[in-house]
Amino acid sequence: MHLPDEPISNRPEEAVSSGKNSDSGVPEHGTEPGAGPVPATRREYPVYEPGEPVALFVPCYIDEFYPHVAQATAELLTWLQVPVEFPGRQTCCGQPAFNSGYWKEACKVVHHFCETFAPYRWIVTPSGSCAAMCRVFFGHVDPDPRIVEIGQRVFELTEFLVEVMGVTDVGARFPHKVTLHIGCHTRRELGVSAPPLRLLQHVEGLQYVELPNVEECCGFGGTFSVKMPGTSIAMGQTKVENIIRSGAEVVVSPDISCLMHVEGILRRHPQGRHIRCMHIAELLRAEE
């Protein structure tokens, strides 16, 4: 039988880093009294001092296809007395190449991103999946601590508002029936699921309706949507049926990339045609 040439038995010390150790070096079973449940992991957020400048990172598809989302983000942050800056040399976070496996190519783009945003302590983007790329995956393409550290400065918009700034009421008014879709990267990689909801709760006149199977993926998945279109569209159709079932007039999301796919399917659905898709930044700027 083949086992690795180099004995790896000296690794468990680093592997077994937590828990109560038994004589074999392996953690004991945790139902014994006193072990206690693990508290829900909550990310520690750094403190934002009022007046600190924030760099706006506008993902490529928002820049060209949804510029009004970036405008709403800039307006919203400025309205909340955050000095917004927009580094003109910014392009992309590298996620499309990273998810496709082309990490060398992604790495070049990540370096460009880091050069562009190096001077800023705070970087905010109206896209959860791009924020996840920066914060979670920069280290995968280049483990250089400087790159990882710059990635850590990136926050998704609603996360920045609620968790970092502590703002939940932005004075918006939107008297419509609204449901919320949170992208999977935002929900699972960033762990951001409460902030968008808390912001919606404080919008005047807004009637929130829960989306059935809210946690299920919409099927966009970046290049997945064109590499496996049959499966992607089938998943999107399920999401669209759930949106219709919720009875919402508007679908709102912190991820407009998911909505690009969902809206594309809604437009072809006889019962879904009239349903509006909006980024949460647009809704938070609304005074309808």
Partner: protein, 492 residues
């Protein structure tokens, strides 16, 4: 009636996987969702049930972490633990045989069959036996192997392959099973669950007593006591391992855990994650062989040590085959288990198969995911499946595999170059916008564009400028809230 079972098992053997060729062909089908009747609903129901159960247990996350650490320790110390397991179980009369690949394992098995003059075999559920394509090999040897797990029995009758690692006949509804029994066993049609179970029981029961050899898998091989742990709900494993005079247990090298003290946490997790049970109906602990009977343990590598070569991929070996990731996976629910082409379907298959059969055969599997992360969230041993998927995607484009293409590499090189030059970025994005506008007027759409518009409208860029241009003109016009921030805090 008895002969009907025998006949079916003989004439319609478990359909062979035909190895890598099959996988290559099946990979093509990953793009299209298949129609599998009840599969999508059943898997989704299991997923939700699992989520509800987990939500009620405050200890669950701590159990997951412990199981992860125990597995990490075990995989790091496989060389010692396997030897310890072998020593302890051999001391109680068992014979341990090692096999580097499926062929060696089959050779061991055939030697055992010849030595003991075996004619009939009853088989409890074992994924390793699927890797070995064992039924096919036994068939060639002239030995009848009957699946005794209800789900496996059904797919064997139907001449299909298991669609799920825990519930192999998940795609069959009660009516499908009724029709199958009517057609293959000559039973009157029924869709009553209890009646169907009775039919299966009637046909299977006497097989256990007559069989010469029982084959089982291994859920956990416990090193310090030399114990094999098997979990099940139907009782067929207990019968398969105790009725025949010879018992062969098949296990992958990664099944070993250090101590019997580590077993409870896995039992807590496996039942709940697999089927939403607190504990499976039966938990068998087999400490060696009983007098007058023989116990063989075949320990199979079959590509697992390839995973050890890639330190980033180790956690793929932590898998306890609970099937939670399959149930949670929106892609699996739509394409079904067969689309993954080999023994292990779903997210775990997408990260395990490329190691076990090679990226050159299964390089496309890691791309069969929207990277939604539901699998990583439910995995009871905390395998970072979504991150493993992107890691394997990276390896698939760098190493020989069906997805490696110089054309795609060229496209991404050009893309990276454009993204590193802001003027080129703006030009490229401007062209993308123009292209999207014009695409409406094209009679057909090539490549990825066509893939998009097959079921979706293209996004319609607004008539105004892009954000870069807008910012230059309008940044100074942005308004600040005149006095104090509106917030929840008292005093606002």
């Amino acid at each position: 009636m008895q002969s009907a079972v025998e006949e079916t098992a003989r004439t319609e053997p478990h359909v062979s996987l035909q190895g890598a060729q099959f996988l290559r062909e099946q990979n093509k089908n990953l793009a299209e969702p298949g129609q599998f009747g009840s599969l999508a609903q059943s898997a989704e129901r299991s997923y939700k049930h699992n989520q509800q159960i987990i939500a009620t247990i405050p200890y669950f996350q701590s159990w997951r972490e412990q199981a992860h650490q125990i597995k990490r320790y075990a995989i790091a110390n496989l060389d010692k633990l396997l030897v310890e397991f072998e020593r302890n179980i051999t001391a109680r009369g068992a014979t341990v045989l090692y096999a580097q690949n499926a062929q060696e394992a089959n050779e061991h098995l055939i030697r055992i069959i010849r030595e003991h003059g075996v004619r009939t075999v009853v088989k409890a559920k074992s994924m390793v036996s699927e890797e070995m394509e064992m039924n096919h090999v036994l068939e060639a040897e002239g030995v009848r192997a009957l699946e005794t797990d209800l789900g496996e029995f059904l797919v064997q009758l139907a001449g299909q392959r298991p669609i799920h690692v825990v519930t192999p006949a998940l795609h069959l509804s009660a009516a499908d099973v009724g029709r199958l029994f009517q057609e293959k066993l000559g039973e009157p049609f029924t869709q009553e669950h209890a009646a169907l179970t009775q039919i299966a029981r009637k046909h299977l029961r006497r097989q256990f007593v007559q069989a010469d050899l029982g084959i089982s898998g291994v859920n956990f091989a416990i090193a310090d006591t030399g114990t094999i742990c098997l979990v099940e709900n139907e009782g067929n494993q207990g019968l398969s391992t105790s009725c025949p005079r010879v018992h062969v247990a098949l296990m992958g090298i990664e099944k070993v855990i250090p101590s019997i003290r580590h077993l409870p946490v896995f039992l807590h997790l496996l039942g709940r994650s697999g089927t939403g049970q607190k504990l499976t109906t039966y938990t068998h602990l087999i400490h060696g062989s009983t007098p007058g009977r023989k116990l063989y343990v075949i320990i199979l590598d079959n590509g697992r040590s390839e995973v050890l070569r890639d330190p980033k991929a180790w956690s793929a070996l932590f898998c306890i085959r609970c099937g939670a990731c399959l149930n949670s996976c929106p892609v699996y629910r739509r394409v079904g288990g067969w689309a993954y082409g080999w023994v292990y379907p779903g997210p775990i298959g997408a990260i395990l198969t490329p190691h076990l059969v090679g990226l050159d055969q299964a390089g496309k599997l890691p791309f069969a995911s929207s990277l939604c992360g539901a699998c990583g969230e439910v995995c009871p041993v905390k395998i970072d499946i979504p991150h493993q998927l992107v890691h394997l995607r990276h390896r698939a484009v760098e190493e020989p595999s069906p997805v490696r293409s110089w054309r795609e590499r060229l496209v991404w090189r050009l893309w990276a170059w454009a993204m590193c030059h802001p003027w080129m970025y703006r030009l490229a994005m401007g062209m993308a916008r123009l292209g999207t506008r014009l695409a409406r007027f094209l009679p057909w759409h090539p490549g990825p564009l066509g893939a998009w518009t097959r079921g979706r409208e293209l996004p319609q860029p607004p008539p105004g400028p892009n954000f870069h241009t807008w910012w230059k003109k309008h940044a100074h016009e942005l308004k600040t809230f005149p006095t104090e921030l509106p917030s929840e805090s008292p005093g606002s």
